[in-house]
Symmetry: C2
Subunit: 789 residues, 2 copies
Amino acid sequence: MGVPRPDAYAVEPWILREPAGPRLDDLAETETTFALSNGCLGMRGVLDEGEPTGQAGTYLAGLHELRTMVYTEERAGEPEATQTLVNTIDGALVRLFVDGHALDVREGGLLGHERALDMRAGTLRRELRWRSPGGEVVDVESERLVSFRHRTAAAVRYAVRPVDRPVDVVVQSALVANEQQPLRPRHLNTKDLLRHPLEPLEHRATGDRLTLLHRTRRTAFVLGAAAEHEVSAPRGVQVHSESEEDAARFTVAVRLEPGEELVVVKYLGYAWSEHRGLPAVRDEVAAAVTAARAAGWDGLVADQRAVLDEFWEHADVEVDGDPELQQAVRFALWHLLQATDRAEGRAIAGKALTGSGYEGHAFWDTEMFVLHVMTALRPHVSRDALMWRFATLSKARARAAQLDLRGAAFPWRSIAGEECSGYWPAGTAAFHVNAAVAEAVIRYVDTTEDGEFARTVGLELLVETARLWASLGHTTGDGAFHLFGVTGPDEYSAVSDDNVYTNLMAQRNLRGAAHWAERFPDEAAELGVDPDERGQWLTAADAMAVPYDADLGVHPQAAGFTDQPVWDFDAMTEDSYPLHANFPYFQLYRKQVVKQTDLVLAMFARGDAFTDEQKARNLDYYERVTVRDSSLSACVQAVLAAEVGHLDLAHDYVVESALADLRDADHDSGDGLHLAALAGVWIALVAGFGGLRQVDGRLEFRPALPEGLTRLAFRMGFHGRRLRVTVRHDGATYEVLEGEPLTLWHEGEEVEAAVDAPVHRPLTARPRRQAPTQPKTRRPARRSRPPAA
Amino acid sequence: MGVPRPDAYAVEPWILREPAGPRLDDLAETETTFALSNGCLGMRGVLDEGEPTGQAGTYLAGLHELRTMVYTEERAGEPEATQTLVNTIDGALVRLFVDGHALDVREGGLLGHERALDMRAGTLRRELRWRSPGGEVVDVESERLVSFRHRTAAAVRYAVRPVDRPVDVVVQSALVANEQQPLRPRHLNTKDLLRHPLEPLEHRATGDRLTLLHRTRRTAFVLGAAAEHEVSAPRGVQVHSESEEDAARFTVAVRLEPGEELVVVKYLGYAWSEHRGLPAVRDEVAAAVTAARAAGWDGLVADQRAVLDEFWEHADVEVDGDPELQQAVRFALWHLLQATDRAEGRAIAGKALTGSGYEGHAFWDTEMFVLHVMTALRPHVSRDALMWRFATLSKARARAAQLDLRGAAFPWRSIAGEECSGYWPAGTAAFHVNAAVAEAVIRYVDTTEDGEFARTVGLELLVETARLWASLGHTTGDGAFHLFGVTGPDEYSAVSDDNVYTNLMAQRNLRGAAHWAERFPDEAAELGVDPDERGQWLTAADAMAVPYDADLGVHPQAAGFTDQPVWDFDAMTEDSYPLHANFPYFQLYRKQVVKQTDLVLAMFARGDAFTDEQKARNLDYYERVTVRDSSLSACVQAVLAAEVGHLDLAHDYVVESALADLRDADHDSGDGLHLAALAGVWIALVAGFGGLRQVDGRLEFRPALPEGLTRLAFRMGFHGRRLRVTVRHDGATYEVLEGEPLTLWHEGEEVEAAVDAPVHRPLTARPRRQAPTQPKTRRPARRSRPPAA
């Protein structure tokens, strides 16, 4: 949404290249798009020399500080503190001095500057030519990676060459803690704490190794970083290393002739723990940096490529006809990999480890969007992510008890498992986060057939969330089971009765728990599940209220929604959006206006609960009142638009979702990626144009392409097979790339594909329907269509 | 509610006496009950020597500081700052040193200690006999007043006498700014700011005059206090005066023989202004203290009694049969006078000037409860209070615009007129505050026939609030006018549709505005009211939705309320209350549980909108779900219980309301009085047992007494007359004490009373009904009934 900024990046299939830059106004945004991470360690794409910067940031999964909440009115059950992702020790910094002038892109003359994220190599490269204020011209090449293979390691290779005359060159590699930064107004609430989050414990500089060890004040994490350096120069260099509380520096000085090159490779190792003390963490830091150096630069680069080769083999999506979308979907997949790969039991945040937005909190959309995708592409990361939920189960149980409920109530937003939302109508009341956890559990097991996980972890997650729903709802005289006073996905409504999405997801959750409790009777009994309780879950699920407005022939998002007055969209201008920045929730909540799909998401996640005609009518109805002030919306609208037959509209929505961060459409990508929206690109393509629905352990496809695309091919895993599906206007091809033959459904027809025995089927045209309309100024940008034949 | 503590006070008709004390655990509570105020200057009833104290406090009406709000999630339309009542310069302090020992009730031996608030004299007296750790015994008598006649003046008379042997006595009278105090946990949110709210400007000590001048930091009020002293001693005394930034002291030293007495009279003058600068305020302080001293102690005391004689002549309520209630109703009236008398255009806070609870904010209950009473007893203070609303009209207009509404939106809580609630579902959404303002305007003019006020002030208040309702509501296809997404008086529900109380009060507001706009056409035209707009108000009022649950035969508090599950009262214990301290709003909002009367209040405020049978059924229904976790509830329940015929229950509720602060039933009287509950005592007696309803400019009475009372007599003003109504079991007597003859209605019969021509009428027995039940542990304490005849 919003006015897209001019293209910053060249359109290439595998590389995100900023050919001319850096653009100082967009630094924060490019720091996000160029952020490197492996899910464990994240480094924003700050320039090597550290300045200018939009918002510097180096993050370690789970490392957070507490911040006391302030309420003007006391309310029982509100969290006392929030958890805030901490900007840890910055290890990426490499400064260059040319004849005494510090390299700074704002000074002297920048004769060329390019950054390129290579999504197959897994590195961020930078090349620049700079003329110092003194007139010396140098070429600089740097390359940076955060290792997928070594979860706490990163490295930088930094090379300098004089262009036309000899120069005195100093390269200074540093570690910096508590780094200052230009905080932007939207971070008002966190600025006080984050100004100096780390308490120094130890600092060392010995030979080419630098070490800093710090501690967070309230959470008492001990953390550290170390750097080691390899210097390659045409002649002897002077080196010096030094350290102080919040900084350590390794400095190399040499005079270079034209044609000569100074190369400094910086190996980084990190460690942190909320349990272990200084001696342990000190040793872990040393081990991490030593391992990185032992691998060597070439080894790290080779490892990186090997991981990525394997990833793309399992995950690549090919899009013909829209090169920008092709690039964007790979960019999305790249960041999904980065966000999840080595998270290994830590929360996967809404911004991943690419920025401090939302304080680094994880939300429901990790399960509903990110894990949805990763379960198909790299299921072990979904398992790891669900293990995080499992590890926080005792906190979720305590939260449920605090809310006078049974079972487990997972937090709306959190890093370590405790609820961190200070606004309960859009936090605590959004209980659907629990259904999202259950949904991810069911999907993971459905996809992987990982029975051991189901038995030891999944069952308990399902049981405790089912218990939550059972205690949250009530049965009325007519036998219907209701969930009152809850908040659905749409953040422009809150605290409603019988939110359709929530109720349908709770229904699946209750049924899943009952089904698995039957499948694992011993484990269920250990959890205290008896036949009575199972029966109650099934009764509640069967009796689940699903409001329907018979007059309009549509489902209200929640009871009464369609009785509300409609928002006065005609009085809005482009500047009125996002509405939550300009209108109080008081007004938004009581009117028909939808920030992000809610009922439409229900039609995707629980498509089985709606007829085709209902889907078409509901989509038409909700398109008129949906403003997409959330990046989570367009991708789901794309899926339903495609299902109902509005394929061009679906294409528009896919592209909107795909460019959310590449165009910084919401003007907030500087705070970090919209990770779930990136996952939504895959969902929109695969579930939308691929028509994939995964129902009760089987794959069903109803593919269809918009005019603007000529081919879509995607890969995925299922029941131990690796598949590729290729969709063209004239048909779809199903291939098993690896594994046993697989039965699947194409447009309702059962087909079997096997290795070297692909299946091809033609496509049935979608019914023609009148395209839905959107509120004024909210129509998605039209994707150019090929001229009519 | 809660377990009442043992009686602290002797039961006497005109005096609140603490015969044995002070009880150190209850200091904060007695500081509240013994607080002195005239509505302009308030002094908590702290011991003369300042320590021990529960919470010291000296307040000046309107003097406040700003405190920046902190939100964990950003929301448009939320206030950036709140206003906090400032503890200003303490002038009451008088320390005594006996042979070098500081008088401290915790040290030495307290041989006697009594405090007595004399509600006819208007002073707080204290007598004590103390044996110092050195063994010297002294008698101390102090008397303190805050002058009704001189709005910025107070005085203390302090006398010391040795009992049995000569002693060296030092009396030290002080002014103290930024005084330290033991803050209790519930003040967590404000403690930082209030620790040092005043910036020193000037300090002086010359002769017997002390002066301190300070400034608030953000609001930039300049404020000051001065003290002058008269010393009376049997022989020459040594005096010394000194000052520093935050303190000034006047010290008297003398050796006294047994039988001799040292008397120090301290005159205090205050001044403060948000506009005027230091020179002006310095002079105002000097003027205030000079005027006080010119009046002299005896003059101040005489003035005080004259004001009170006149007040009780207009306001006294006599209750026979329940001496505790007799004392309590006078205590209530005393504090109503203190809260309002010289407020003169400043907000009247929920805690008046008796404590820092609610940050010193004024709420809707000032209009609905306090002004309801004061309009009958002392109407000029109601006019002054409404002038405060009028003075803030531009802020209320700006607030409405910010909320995308027309007209004026008065704040839920405020000191200076800006919205200060940081929790909009129970703040901004509670639009009924605007109807309360309109109601108070209508009642004031209806009572006083003050046409000039109606024309110049009242009309504009009615017009702007009517505009708010017109823009807040919407009309549905069936023609009904709805108010969606608003919060009614009951704080255990929020953001509902068509709250019956709100809708009926808005209806009256709309009709009142239309009526007055017709009556004052020129002034209305100047306000932009045209016949179209008037017509829209009347149409909306006539079409106002009033939900009714035909199945149950009761009115839901708001649409859907009776469909909600009922709170599990049987699972509660006494410790579960107040529920908001133990259960999240999430649970409270979605269940049938009522904190304070809402629908029942509607039946009082808009009794004309309900049939007798509906009132009985509704009361019965809501009694079952009302928990009275607010002090505003019992008095209204008393009124309806009396109307419906549950007279003994009404008596129970009157007493609960009357003892709210005297017994500290909610364990929070230390933060300040429950002023509206005190007003509710009068309402419960007069509207409940007196059966008074004021409808369209006429007084209607349907009196009835519970068994426990033998006589109720109350006074009030109406249309320039002064009336007394006396109710006995055998009949009611209506007397005009002053003014022209008056027509009124007794049980529907028109009667005329005149001076020296009282009217007596017998009472018709109320229909017998089954008494309603309350939730477990929520039945009000039974008032002892006389034995059956």
